[in-house]
Symmetry: C2
Subunit: 361 residues, 2 copies
């Protein structure tokens, strides 16, 4: 597995987005958003998906020059229509609207329709941090998840991200799929032909299975909790809230009608809405209390949890965001490792669009 | 196990709250909030706790005549100080503030300090429904939960509730502890001397155990997910967000410093804040889109999920809020079943405060 410099991968993504017709500023935003996943160690959501976005564009399912706009607003809310643009571009626009609302009204909440896959949820939530705000981000996604007791797949992995500023400590950044395991982890097991732990997936009949390929034959990912006895109804409820905030508030598609990310799967007929949906929030800290007081207490919170006595065999208790930040430090220095299949995918894109190919570090 | 009429239990609670000095309107609010748990089948949070509140009052840890007030506000936010009052009264006050903010600014978000146990999270979220708003409610709680990899108990069961109006269908009401299992379920197993499923608790060394009494000897409840492989870091992150929104935004106590509900446990020294914290939200539906459009889509969402093909052996796929609503229908008709220990507890309270005792139906 070769490693590649962040700057090289960023340039490649930028040029490919421009090649499919994105204006330069939007192409840059898209590359920033996409590459944040590779930096933070979420390999399934980074450049590995670049060819997937291109295929969606080929299928006419991405508008490279969208007129993204606010269609409705109140002092603390807005609805954004992404005009079929890349979620990688629509989401940062909508998050900016949330931040602007919060600057005026204390908080800002933006539901977004007519969008597409938006990369990692955490990236958008983190945009609030430099503004001394708490950021939130969620999105619905292609139906891969079976609600508790359901054979059918009705929800996406529907992530929730919350980014909270601290003082001397780095920010708290939670970014979690509302499933037991993210789809990316399953794909790794499929490649390795390894077994999945019980509680991650069910087969086409809705029975527990350890076969990671079951999801390719009518099986489903399971909501966080895994089964009823371990609280899967809670993961299901959280995923449902994400779906409703993202899509029913905005007028996007929801539940089983969410258009699939992969271009070879057909879009369901009689869609109830437009594209996929996201939901963003920003809360000014000083809309509640002075920011320095809040940050002092966040520092105390973080230090107390990080210094908790760990279970034998574990080094320490982690703060949400710690693992991703450590990935970023290493990868900015040593490069981003890519599996061969992704490298040849990117080489093909470079050849096809006549942009400079990448070279391993 | 005898059953008791809702009205009788409500009257008893009301009279006991008045006997400890609550003004009549606050006593009524407290009884409404408390009894909503019994109606909805959350037996651990209803009249079974009445004597617990009385013991906190005896210990000077409840102010029966609090001056609950807004201490800070912006157009869409407020901080409420509960003045040490019953959470059962402080929370409805704060939720009203959130609803009033939403009426003006589109959404309202209220962080609350200096409060106490507030009953079931779902009750407060549901207050938004008649206003055509989405309601949210969360609270921190006594430290019983070990973050992933931690031996120490640093978080409460920190529930999240979200109530969403529908049209012809009943509302969607998610109400979930951010742990695999609520403490109430563990107490049932302790009484029955039955084993707990793996993934609910760990022992004092942080190792998995099925012994439900482990939490009384230094063990801990586990975050939703159970262990790292099944996503416990996600349940931990969600519980942490609840703690921070409820207590660090408001200036309440957080993490291991949250005062315990049971009066015989000492309060930690050097508290960083005041009382326990809650967080409430209200979002006007028509701050996003016309309410009737939203409700039509909610109805479609609910019907699609409820009619999903169930796994063999299961009757149907449930919508969050279905089980609690069914409990309420039955219990309003047939009464609320109480275990003998709770009945004698209530009889003692009645005798002590000279109020009319309850009689089984």
């Amino acid at each position: 597995m070769a490693a590649f410099r962040f700057e090289d991968l960023h340039r490649l993504a930028l040029e490919v987005f421009m090649a499919i017709g994105c204006p330069p500023d939007q192409a840059r935003t898209a590359a920033d958003t996409l590459l944040s996943a590779d930096l933070r160690g979420v390999d399934s959501h980074g450049v590995a998906r670049l060819s997937g976005y291109v295929r969606l564009w080929e299928n006419g399912r991405i508008n490279p020059r969208p007129g993204i706009r606010v269609t409705y607003e109140t002092p603390s809310t807005a609805v954004v229509d992404g005009d079929g643009g890349l979620g990688l571009v629509v989401a940062p626009f909508a998050m900016e609207v949330a931040i602007a609302k919060a600057t005026q009204a204390g908080t800002g909440w933006v539901s977004t329709r007519n969008s597409n896959h938006y990369g990692i949820a955490g990236y958008h939530a983190m945009q609030a941090i430099p503004h001394n705000m708490i950021g939130m981000s969620m999105t619905n996604a292609s139906p891969l998840v079976a609600p508790t007791f359901s054979v059918e797949r009705l929800l996406g992995t529907n992530p929730i991200a919350v980014a909270i500023p601290a003082g001397e400590e780095p920010p708290f950044v939670a970014d979690l799929a509302t499933t037991t395991a993210a789809n990316g982890k399953l794909e790794i097991l499929q490649r390795k032909r390894a077994e999945a732990p019980l509680g991650w997936i069910q087969d086409a009949a809705g029975q527990p299975t350890t076969d990671p390929t079951a999801t390719t034959r009518g099986g489903a990912l399971l909501p966080l909790g895994g089964d009823r006895e371990h609280g899967s109804h809670k993961g299901y409820a959280l995923g449902a809230v994400v779906d409703i905030f993202s899509a029913i508030l905005s007028g996007a598609n929801y539940g089983p009608w969410v258009p699939p990310f992969v271009a070879f799967l057909p879009v369901a007929p009689n869609l109830p809405g437009k594209g996929i949906g996201h939901f963003f929030g920003a809360m000014r800290i000083d809309a509640f209390r002075p920011a320095d007081e809040f940050k002092q207490h966040m520092d105390q919170w973080i230090r107390r949890f990080r210094s908790a006595k760990p279970v034998e065999g574990q080094e320490r208790v982690l703060i949400p965001g710690d693992p991703e930040r450590e990935f970023e430090t290493v990868r900015r220095l040593e490069g981003i490792p890519l599996v061969d299949a992704v490298v040849s995918d990117l080489m093909e894109l470079a050849a096809r669009f006549g942009v400079t190919p990448i070279a391993a570090v």
